[in-house]
Symmetry: C2
Subunit: 205 residues, 2 copies
């Protein structure tokens, strides 16, 4: 793949993959950029343009073969394999993530849950026994884990992120409501419900 | 405000507001686009350009008065007031959201938690007693609530969204991993951790 594809294009591919997977579950085998666009509220021209970065995946007039397009998108996004993920923070949110069944079949599996609170360490969340954050780096190195989800309070997020990066993490999904400093080679994505809500209220009369 | 400000600009304002609030908590009273940019990994030119849509808020060479800029951004985003929000879905994620203390002081307050499962209705999550989704529309209409958070399984998300919109909701923060159909006047924002993770793996060697 050329390395010059805009990140905004990359950000839409998981949305396409999710919609195509849903269509496949509903029993459909062929779709069009028009149908996909209607489902997603994205123009069909945009979808065709996005996919053209990777060769197009469809023939003019015959639409897209859904299973083929799913496979190709999984390949591009590198989720045609399963990534192990560490989860740091076993509070309410961390616990909800540990129970979340939506990771399976979409490329991810939680490999361990960590917290630094003595009253959390050793407790069970879902199928996991919470381990001390002191053991985090060991698991990351041992298993070559590249991705972490961070569900710790804002005041601890940077120090935990630093430890994760030092241990070899390349991608952090940060739920703490704070911006992280990270070196160039580390991707950080943010999930903050208030940021999304504030982006909405601007538009509400 | 002119209605032509790109949504990508609006999407950055909550990030600026969050970082400025943090600086204020740390005791700082003045900042610059340069300092803010370093914190956020955004160029100072971008920040100045974004803020110039609203008049600029700062004088060349003297930086930004943090409390003033915070007030102005809150005003633009309409979070200089408190919005009541309904939460639908009292599973693991809904429960984590009901417990989340990060809404306070950022413009939002959960006004009610709803679920349709008989074994959930009447139970306590945080400070809320879970009510039947049948009573949802009543609360929304009574209190003029405009915003909902949707934490229900994908297969129920569209029907719940339809009911919310019919009751008067203008903004939905959707945690269900599915795209929603909604009329023009309704803003939908999505939070799906797998979409964010897949956007990361593309870049991880």
């Amino acid at each position: 793949m050329p390395p010059t594809i805009p990140d905004i294009v990359i950000s839409r591919l998981p949305i396409y993959l999710r919609a195509l997977t849903r269509l496949a579950q509903e029993g459909q085998t062929v779709t069009s950029s028009h149908e996909l666009g209607l489902r997603l509220g994205i123009s069909s021209a945009q979808i065709r343009k996005d996919l053209s970065h990777f060769g197009g995946f469809g023939k003019q007039g015959t639409g897209y073969q859904i299973p083929y397009l799913i496979e190709q998108l999984k390949h591009v996004l590198k989720v045609n394999r399963e990534w192990e993920v560490v989860l740091v923070g076993a509070g309410d949110l961390g616990s909800a993530l540990a129970h979340y069944r939506g990771f399976a079949n979409r490329g991810f599996r939680i490999a361990g849950v960590f917290d630094n609170a003595p009253n959390k360490i050793g407790t069970q969340v879902g199928e996991f026994t919470v381990e001390s954050t002191e053991r985090m780096a060991e698991l990351i190195r041992q298993r070559g884990i590249k991705i972490a989800m961070l569900a710790v309070p804002a005041e601890h997020a940077q120090e935990v992120a630093d430890a994760l990066i030092a241990a070899g993490i390349h991608g952090i999904l940060n739920y703490a409501p704070i911006n992280l400093n990270a070196p160039e080679h580390v991707r950080v994505q943010y999930i903050d419900p208030v940021v999304q809500l504030q982006r909405m209220t601007y538009y509400i009369p």
